[in-house]
Subunit: 329 residues, 2 copies
């Protein structure tokens, strides 16, 4: 069980339940409520809340509004990304543009973003409101840039591993970093601790994405996803790019052709997955990926070791990261 997760949910869920239930026009806020109530791990709001709790547990109630704002920001990115990806499902339910329509998805996404800023700007002391809003604005810019890079990469032939890492850092990892920093701000941490926690969250976030790529190929179907789904979609994942780095030069053209081919039936699909995975095994792509994750883990834990909290308290934050990524691979 994640540390204090029950307590977090006891504070967070009723708050979430109350929001937007009476805002007008109903047509604007229905999609917001729909998406926010679809569930999800609540990873970002929980991280924010836990950081605040660790520094000053009396501030956890106060952290709920910012935690909610961050989940709202995350929801805004999901609803717009789902339009761009033409995704029909989110958490097993129709995406907002599928359940309502595209115009409502665009506009309710916009509303989520501006309400997020409004929640951060109001309901805190002036100094805290400014700190939280500036953090969110900076991160939001990064997230937009990361999403654009992701779309650009899908169209480009060559993408380097460092570009890929830069993209996942911007698109998803800095938001987790910001969640920890904002929680630390609310809990009253000094700015050195805030920065350390930001790094901890960011490195954990990068690792989380790379792990996601790894588990897609080597995780079996224990995680509810079809094994090899990324391979079938020719996705430029960490493993694919690591494969380009590690494959013998004379095998490169064959590898690129094999990976980027389209399959037309289940048999071909099985064949493609088996072929790519056997190449990766031959070249040590899996081991190299795990080794990279270990480096990130060291960097994340190194940052966490710097903070001025008693070890028994900072262990709660360590526990969260461990459950999320470090313990799985």
């Amino acid at each position: 069980m994640l540390p204090y997760f029950e307590e977090f949910r006891k504070q967070f869920d009723p708050f979430l339940e109350k929001q937007f239930s009476e805002n007008l026009p109903v047509t604007l806020y229905e999609p917001v409520q729909y998406l926010m109530k679809l569930g999800g791990k609540r990873l970002r709001p929980y991280s924010l809340w836990l950081a605040a709790y660790c520094y000053d547990n009396s501030k956890s109630t106060m952290a709920v509004q910012a935690a909610y704002a961050l989940e709202l920001f995350h929801a805004f990115t999901l609803v717009h990304d789902d339009i761009m990806d033409e995704a029909p499902l989110r958490r097993g339910k129709p995406t907002v543009h599928a359940a309502f329509n595209m115009n409502k998805a665009i506009l309710s996404g916009d509303a989520m973003m501006v309400h997020c800023m409004d929640y951060l700007l109001n309901g805190y002391s002036d100094a805290l409101a400014l700190g939280l809003s500036r953090e969110l604005a900076k991160t939001a810019i990064g997230v937009c840039q990361g999403q654009q890079l992701d779309m650009d990469f899908a169209e480009r032939q060559e993408v380097s591993l460092s570009e890929y890492i830069q993209m996942i850092e911007a698109k998803t990892a800095i938001l987790l970093g910001s969640a920890f920093r904002m929680g630390a701000m609310i809990g009253g941490a000094n700015s050195t601790d805030q920065e350390s926690l930001y790094i901890y969250g960011k490195e954990t976030g990068i690792a989380f994405q790379i792990q996601d790529d790894f588990l897609d190929a080597f995780g079996g179907d224990a995680f509810g996803k079809q094994e090899g789904g990324d391979i079938l979609q020719n996705k430029k994942t960490f493993l694919y790019l690591k494969g380009i780095e590690l494959c013998p030069p004379d095998q490169l053209p064959g590898y690129l052709k094999a990976y980027n081919r389209t399959v037309s039936n289940e048999e071909e699909a099985k064949e493609k997955i088996a072929e790519i995975k056997s190449l990766w095994t031959e070249w040590g792509v899996g081991e190299a990926t795990v080794a990279y994750l270990r480096l990130l883990e060291k960097s994340a834990h190194g940052a966490l070791d710097q903070i001025n909290l008693p070890a028994e308290t900072s262990s709660f934050i360590r526990e969260l990261g461990d459950a999320l990524v470090w313990r799985l691979t």
Copy 2:
């Protein structure tokens, strides 16, 4: 000539020119630059700048960044609205989703919004940054709600005149009010003056929209629009709704049918416009619209008379509103 408009452009244009020229990824910022450089009246940034100038002309340089942020916010609403309206042209050039594609229009619009917040949150004193950002967030929520109401009204059969005014107030007028309030904040006006200027801008903004409806029917083609365009599109304008109020009850079904019919050739179009305009003339719809504009003018000028500026200075602000709306009808 608008007061100090040249001076405003001398400060604003070079600032605009510099922004985003080096931001990465290029693919995200190309549409931003494209839209910002399409031109436009620069009404909102100029209003903000002029208000700051009137209170303290030494602050006008400082006002440029907030003025730019506001134009960026306006551009964000345009690019997303154009997708929702499936509009092919904006200021005579292809809209962003037409010139680039829909995904870029969604994402670059998002980027405009978050950069707008970032410009307001950074580059000002803490107190000013908070004031400006809170004003923008509040107004942005209203603008989203107004856009949703506008879409809802297009699908609804019955819309009252007061609902229509509430919609244009939220969708466009409060942003002009905020422009004046933000300029007043930067110029150092007290909060009473800020509120008076907000009301002045808001009432002027409402009048501007109603005037737009009026000129579409009765303005000839002097304003570059085809006369009667709203009538041909069966748009629920101020005049249409005023017509419902003023028409004799027994003529109402005929009026609704006549207005909401679709025309299939130029002759029918001419006929429809002539018929509707003759009904409006018979019922005094034009006069009633102008009378309503006079009421708004009184309220706007009444608010402006309250501010603590010498008459010769506040006359610049009066001049701007007069040029925009009060002198045209």
